[in-house]
Assembly symmetry: C2
Homo-oligomer: 205 residues x 2
């Protein structure tokens, strides 16, 4: 697929079939992620591919708690969303929350440091090295016909996630990417017109 | 270009010609960025395309100070880098620092909130919505034959950057992307073998 086709048709796909995904494809997704730039080219992005049913169930349960809490307490209105569209997104998020344990692969994008970060701000500071890799991974999944979403709600209870995965102090889980064959169709994404998002030379025009 | 070709040949291109880039291409880069997912689909990514020579000079000077400080004080050794390769990267960073004012377009990826964030942690918290857009923008630039890099050193002195660009409290500059036609050739990126970056089901194997 051409790069622009992929970029413009890379919807967050949340309703996924339980059918297994070949390991080769999961590795291609991670490998594509690794090609993204990292700060000082440190290449600290690490992936945990979770397919074990018990491990998936544990992560799914952590995600479900966070999603239900989010939907209850933070139902945000976004000016540029029509309510029907927003409701469809929330429905898909809730579907994903109820079925995440059946999704064949949960890929965790993590960052590994040579030494444990000094504090939470330092732990959060590698986002600029992890998120570009996650975006590459989402694009690769789309190109391979796989549905995926980048989610962080499932990682809110970080100590619990760390315990499930047994990650050491030098590793931080950043993003959870459920991957599987989509139930629906890949459609185009809809976004604000670019003109509404661009300024020239300074903020005030 | 095919998506995987772009992903595997999207080097950070720092040595750029001063030749102007058509505005249409700069907008395509930003538009591609906007297609990336954002947290809760808030679509808060904003772009400031800086082409005015005086504005470029101001940003270039802020970047130069940070780069020289970085090179002096934080020359990091990375285990998987051979020293010659690392030196080539640093040379390119220094070249960019000396010539950034001549690069035809400096694109700032920013985040805009509906209300000003409560504190610095909240300001830093939109990285997961900005960096995927930046990665899309880098891939789009590559596909259009343009060289680009995602840099943050030039934004270290945030108050000075905010003053130059006149951004309000509700907007945060995140990433500076110098864009232009490259002096050198686009080559493949070189990264760790994927097997060294992947674990299965839990961290300890």
């Amino acid at each position: 697929m051409g790069i622009f086709d992929v970029i413009y048709h890379c919807r967050s796909m949340r309703r996924l079939k339980p059918d297994p995904v070949p390991e080769e494809l999961l590795l291609r997704i991670c490998e594509a992620g690794n090609q993204a730039p990292t700060g000082s080219n440190m290449q600290g992005v690490r992936w945990i591919i979770v397919r074990d049913p018990e491990q998936r169930t544990r992560l799914a349960e952590l995600n479900r708690k966070s999603v239900l809490n989010y939907v209850d307490t933070r139902r945000v209105d976004v000016p540029h969303h029509d309510p029907a569209k927003r409701q469809r997104m929330l429905d898909a998020v809730l579907w994903q929350a109820e079925h995440m344990g059946e999704v064949p692969a949960l890929i965790l994008a993590c960052h590994q440091w040579l030494e444990a970060p000094a504090d939470d701000a330092a732990r959060a500071g590698a986002g600029g090295s992890v998120w570009p890799a996650v975006q590459n991974a989402l694009l690769a999944a789309r190109a391979l016909g796989l549905g995926a979403t980048a989610t962080t709600l499932g990682l809110v209870d970080k100590p619990a996630v760390r315990e499930v995965l047994g990650v050491p102090d030098t590793v931080e889980p950043y993003v959870l990417i459920p991957v599987g064959y989509p139930m629906g169709n890949f459609g185009p994404v809809t976004r604000l017109p670019v003109e509404e998002t661009v300024r020239y030379d300074r903020w005030e025009q």
